[in-house]
Assembly symmetry: C2
Homo-oligomer: 153 residues x 2
């Protein structure tokens, strides 16, 4: 991890590269009453939405359907890109065939073969604000800013 | 990632090794009303509790103090160990000097130099049930079990 934060343009390029090339993402969700959940899942990014698939009755499936809110971690702890998103739940039958084919090719498994329900965390196209991992690991003590690269709020 | 799930004994050994040797962990928390948060942070494991440090007013700090519940991801997406824990909040002044010294040596930063507040996710000593990452990434469609290696509930 470089000591110098990346420029906004570089963060945007890095985020776009990860969205296009990475296969797995850390998916954090929460129940409506505040129980956190975290699991790594495969994803596909089509340039506008990030598609994941999980059973309706899994903790992640239940949480995302209930709160429609997700926080994603791409990459590794020392070079992470955090993405917050709103979730749109797609029933398996509503998944366009082309989107399903693309997901299967990208992730190596076909969500349509089982009882999976794809969930689409929606967020704007990659923008500088999406990449916030620069100060995340090995936080330094500094009373004037958070010790970790946390987003406000 | 092996196609064969690790034995319980092997998972326990792997978890213990990671707790003793890894520096960073993915920390998932949630607000009381179900907004998920995720950030990578450095940690120290003393054999009984996993210590992290974050400002009182950071999203993670606020969430953990409010819900006392955390879910941690150790390792990488293809070889992950998930840990659920209860959180004990320690004010910075209550951190024993030896514990603070150990944390600083392990993580490379001293939480006592700033306004950090250590938070201790407590959970039992590593046991087989803590390591649940085997089927997490590249889930396979199988109607009889979750597509991802999720814990029940």
């Amino acid at each position: 991890m470089s000591a110098d934060p990346r420029s906004r343009a570089q963060r945007r390029r890095d985020t776009e590269h990860r969205l296009g090339h990475d296969i797995d993402v850390w998916v954090a969700s929460a129940s409506a009453d505040g129980a956190p959940y975290l699991v790594p899942l495969s994803f596909d990014w089509d340039g506008e939405a990030l598609l994941i698939a999980t059973p309706t009755d899994s903790p992640t499936g239940r949480n995302l359907a209930a709160t429609r809110s997700v926080r994603l971690g791409l990459g590794h702890t020392r070079d992470a890109t955090m993405i917050e998103g709103e979730v749109e739940v797609l029933e398996i039958d509503a998944l366009p065939q082309e989107r399903g084919d693309r997901f299967a090719a990208q992730t190596g498994f076909d969500p349509r073969a089982g009882h999976a329900v794809p969930l689409v965390p929606r967020h704007p196209a990659p923008r500088p604000g999406l990449a916030r991992g620069e100060r995340a690991a090995r936080p330094r003590a500094d009373a004037r800013r958070p010790l970790a690269g946390l987003t406000p709020g």
